[in-house]
């Protein structure tokens, strides 16, 4: 293409504004976090006086000490780690186990379409919040760690994505194993799983982020303070602005403000996401285009 047209006056003006606009947009996504970082390290007078923008004023790390001292925060962090690890593992197991058979045609697996139909119908229609809650209560999961793990264990959209991915696996690959007398277990384990690693990694990462960020289930299904996951706990702190778990000594009031304490807790909650973010990035495109396949 003709390079010279990019040197025209309008073209250049456009480029300058475009680059500038994108820079500002990009910064707008990170500045709120930097502001919280600055706030969390600033002392009381600076935070309440509104002196803090992007750099800590009279830096102190006391908020982080307070957060880590408060047993309930660390405990909630641990519950979230646990639900994420166990929950994502269970999720991936169920997804793989049902999408592999469903990726077979009706001619190979009788009644496949009936099972598929029941999955799709459950994806498109549901009983709503109240019956769902009453069923979980009836199953005795309320106030147990299972309430955070089991209800989320079968994300139906991900089942559909995974099934579509399995369907694209060339038939020739498994035909050789079938001739060798391999069972379906062996075909899944030795043929399908190894070449599905990108798709599996995508769904695992997105599943883990979903578990880490989940808060509503912890709010309605858990009453026990020791089982509250981190996002649900953070909600009481930053949305409900309930600081009763902290500030036991009167002298603390002089050293840091509620705002700094809230900022510190928000940031600690975000850190795990920031840690996996570079890995997530590698799977963005596959994650979103996984669904856009021909059936």
């Amino acid at each position: 293409m003709n390079r010279s047209e990019y040197r025209g006056i309008w073209s250049r003006t456009f480029d300058v504004f475009n680059y500038l606009f994108l820079l500002l947009l990009g910064l707008s996504c990170i500045i709120p976090l930097i502001h919280l970082l600055a706030l969390s390290f600033s002392d009381r007078a600076a935070a309440t006086g509104g002196l803090v923008t992007l750099w800590p004023v009279r830096p102190t790390a006391i908020t982080y000490e307070k957060v880590l001292e408060a047993g309930v925060f660390l405990n909630a962090f641990w519950i979230s780690v646990m639900r994420t690890v166990i929950g994502t593992t269970l999720q991936m197991t169920l997804i793989v186990l049902i999408s592999f058979p469903l990726s077979k045609g009706k001619d190979e697996m009788p009644f496949r379409n009936i099972i598929m139909g029941s999955v799709v119908f459950a994806y498109l229609f549901n009983g709503g919040l109240i019956p769902w809650f009453l069923v979980i209560r009836k199953l005795g999961m309320l106030n147990t760690i299972w309430a955070l793990i089991v209800p989320q264990a079968l994300p139906l959209w991900n089942v559909i994505l995974m099934m579509n991915f399995f369907r694209r696996v060339p038939k020739e690959l498994e035909e050789a194993s079938i001739i060798d007398g391999a069972t379906y277990w062996q075909i899944l384990l030795h043929v399908y799983l190894p070449i599905s690693i990108p798709a599996l990694a995508t769904l695992t990462l997105f599943g883990a982020v979903g578990h880490w960020n989940a808060w509503f289930d912890g709010m309605i299904l858990i009453a026990d303070r020791d089982l509250i996951p981190l996002q649900t706990f953070l909600r009481t702190v930053v949305v409900k602005m309930d600081m009763n778990e902290f500030m036991r000594n009167p002298e603390d009031f002089d050293m840091f403000s509620d705002r700094s304490l809230r900022a510190a807790q928000t940031l600690v909650t975000v850190v795990p996401i920031l840690v996996v973010y570079p890995f997530l990035q590698r799977f963005f495109v596959s994650g979103i285009t996984l669904g856009a396949l021909k059936g």
Binding site: M1, L25, P32, M163, R235
Partner: protein, 316 residues
């Protein structure tokens, strides 16, 4: 009954194959068992629980023994003026979010496409995708902090000469715009991915031919690139409207709203949660939930039909 006989024959045929090939096929059926148990207990059992919409549910009596009251709950729902209010709010908020987001995402994708320094483009993308991965607790906390009466936004406004602090989230005129804009900010980067993928599939020869014929840089965007991503835009809009009731955004609203903005900000999902779970009006909230689910099902089926007719996209 004659119309059913092909289906019955088909099932019989499948059953006979099932029996014949079971020695080889059984692992496939064992594999689906865990998921089927989950489906029955946590999807279909709650669907059975929808019956309480036609009952006066008593926790002690359960799904099976609570007394039937016919359509009383639906009558209560329709007579409740706040039902029409939240129904309208849901549609207004969802539609504003969908239209704003996709319009801006198309523009952002076009702007990113014009960046020829790859490193710059990648860096901007890394930044704008980030908010998508933060929960509405974190984002809500950030917004409450920054938009509060002594937050950084109001301090900037003060420097600008605005005397009274603006209570963005406690005012019916600003609440919905705040929802739409913060949703835009969270999602716009992520929403460009599909458009950027569509842009890569535009035939470069077409662009070259246009350039030779004298089409300038901006003309190529207008006449080739924009039409090239139009099918993707229509597909996304169609799917979004199919999921209209989800698009209102329960997570976001529940963490940002307060009684002062119920008249514009309260949506079906938040109402169901508040009245049903907090207010323990189980049957009434289930009735409202049923209306939402049925309308949602109709919308998604229409949208999938439309998509199947005009594209080769298939769900399953």
């Amino acid at each position: 009954m004659q119309a059913l006989s092909p289906i019955v024959d088909d099932l019989k045929e499948q059953a006979s194959r099932f029996v014949r090939y079971l020695p080889r096929l059984w692992p496939l059926y064992v594999m689906v068992i865990p998921a089927l148990i989950h489906l029955v207990l946590l999807s279909y059992y709650p669907m059975y629980g929808i019956r309480i919409a036609f009952q006066d549910y008593k926790p002690a009596l359960g799904f099976d023994k609570s007394p039937w009251v016919g359509l009383k709950q639906f009558q209560l729902m329709l007579e409740n003026p706040s039902f029409w209010q939240i129904f309208r709010n849901t549609i207004v908020i969802a539609t504003s979010k969908i239209v704003t987001l996709q319009f801006c995402a198309v523009i952002l994708a076009l702007l990113l496409n014009e960046v020829r320094k790859l490193f710059y483009k990648r860096s901007v993308q890394s930044l704008v995708y980030l908010p998508y991965f933060l929960s509405w607790i974190v984002l809500g906390g950030i917004m409450l902090e920054m938009l509060g009466s002594s937050g950084v936004v109001n301090q900037l406004l003060q420097l600008w000469g605005v005397e009274q602090p603006v209570i963005f989230l406690g005012n019916n005129r600003t609440f919905v715009p705040a929802l739409v804009l913060s949703h835009l900010w969270q999602q716009v980067g992520w929403a460009t991915i599909l458009y950027l993928a569509a842009l890569t599939s535009i035939d470069p020869q077409l662009l070259e031919a246009a350039a030779i014929d004298g089409a300038g840089r901006f003309q190529r965007v207008l006449y080739i690139i924009l039409p090239g991503i139009l099918p993707t835009l229509l597909l996304v809009l169609c799917l979004d409207f199919g999921l209209l009731f989800n698009a209102a955004g329960f997570d976001q609203v529940l963490n940002l709203y307060n009684p002062a903005v119920y008249s514009t900000g309260d949506i079906l999902d938040t109402w169901i949660y508040r009245e049903g779970l907090l207010g323990a009006r189980f049957s009434l909230a289930t009735a409202v939930g049923l209306v939402r689910s049925v309308l949602g099902l109709i919308l998604i089926v229409i949208s999938l039909r439309l998509i199947a007719r005009f594209t080769d996209y298939q769900l399953y």
